[in-house]
Amino acid sequence: MPRAGTVSRWGFYVTGTALAILFLSPLLWSGWAAVRTDTGFGLENYDRLFSSDNGIRLHHVLNSLTVSALTVGGTLFVATLGGYAFGRFRFPGRDVLFLITLAILMVPYATILIALYVLLGWLGLEDSLIGLSLVLIMFQLPFSIFMMRNSFEAVPLELEESARVDGCNTFGTLIRIMLPAVRPGLITVGLFAFLTSWSEFFAPLILLNSTDKFTTTLAVVNLRTASHGSIDYAALEAGVVFMAVPCLVLFAFMQRSYVRGFTSGALKG
């Protein structure tokens, strides 16, 4: 829009830069604080993070990776099939099921976690990474189903019809024609599922009891909560950086499709 005079253009850049510094500085500071030691710079804080009594261990990282993989895979599976069903088929109960799925957003998640804790116990999934992943998948569904339904609806009908003329059944059409067409949606849903499951705190806190099942987030927070007396802040910041780096890297690679998928999904709502 060609309205900016020189003054307002300067105003825009000065304000924007000041705010950008404000938003970026905590991130930059934590990276700096994580390598800052008494004598200068080094990896001693990371050493303490991985070796102190309350620190994180390899199996915590593996637990986190397991939960993230299960959550991303499960969310993509359920949301792809569900989005296809909601976007392309008519069947009794479709609108009700869709509304109930969206209603998960309206029911605050902390309120049903107590019941989920009991339910998972009945299913033999207490203190289990699989149980935790199932719960995380359920919490991802409103956003993911909504997103995937919009993505499937946006695929031109002709594409699907031509596949049927060529003799594809609905599943063949889904795999060969639809999946490539909805890839931006899939990336957004998968990325969102990863970011949430990798850094989720409250659900694992409630659903996991034994320290060897802890995810990295729980283990890092444990550095703070289990310490009586003084907190090892530097090791804590090393933990923050360790947790944040995979998310930031993924984010940097996929930002374009993530934001585009997000905006197109939200716009169509």
């Binding site: 008519r90 309206m106 029911v107 049903i112 719960v135 910041e237 944040a244 716009l267």
Partner: protein
Amino acid sequence: MPVTMMAPPTERAGSQRRRAAQPVRLASRAGRRWRALVGVAYAAPTAVMVGLFFLVPLVLVGWMSLHRWPLIGKPTVNVPANFTGIADDDLVKSAVWFTLKYAAVMTALLFVVAFGLALLVQHRRPGVGFFRTAFFLPMAVGFASASLLFLGLLSDEIGPVNDLLSWLGLVDGYVSWTSGSAESALGSAVLLVLWRFAGFNMLILLTGLQAIPLDVYEAARIDGASRWQIFRRITLPLMRPTIALVLTLMSTGSLLAFDQFWILTRGGPDNSTTSLVMVIYREAFIRLDLGSAAGISVALLAVLLVFNAVQLGVLRRRSE
């Protein structure tokens, strides 16, 4: 942008409402029935997940709230002790007030900041992409991690905030931000949430802003409307659905606050920043009384549902 809507504003609300998905044309009734069955099959995983992990727990939490439900051992009916217990508990009462106060402050501040950011970066020009990314980037850090980040940032030991403020002459000596006083503890949490969530809400508001057709602005400007008038009379009304969404997300999120207080302030000093969800956690896993935790959950759930329904209703009515 993916969607350009050139319809005048009055028609836009209607066209934005979702049209039913077009069913693929099929020759026979049997074919249609078969296709419905296939649809059910594709929807089955969703139905199982939603049924088992959402509807069942929803009923179960209500059922639990009617019982004395110890962590280990058999539950026994004790209606309505879990609910009368809520009213008698001083910590619950203070947590309710604190959570309401926090939600009001947080929603208002977050909305103003997020809307300001969205207005700042709404037009395409050189550098705007960098600003959007900078504001959104904190979202890539987990909320628990962000809480730990701010714990260090605001600490006396390694945090630069105190040094910076005393260098500027704004504070004298050391201030313990996260645990010094009720106000500074609350302020720390508010700052953390603003940093972490402003960019995310900015992005949602941005999609709403960009869905407003440019010629509506053009027409208003030709009619001689001032910037403020355009904002009041065009931007705000046309963004009502987006604003409703964002306000609902913000207020629900703040009423459920946990991580920021659990990690950053530990509910202190003197339980002054103990939120309602922290009380639920305490009832369930420290006092081992799941029934009482379920009772508080049900009460919170009821309030939130009413709250959201009213909020959406008000915003919808005004837009008609």
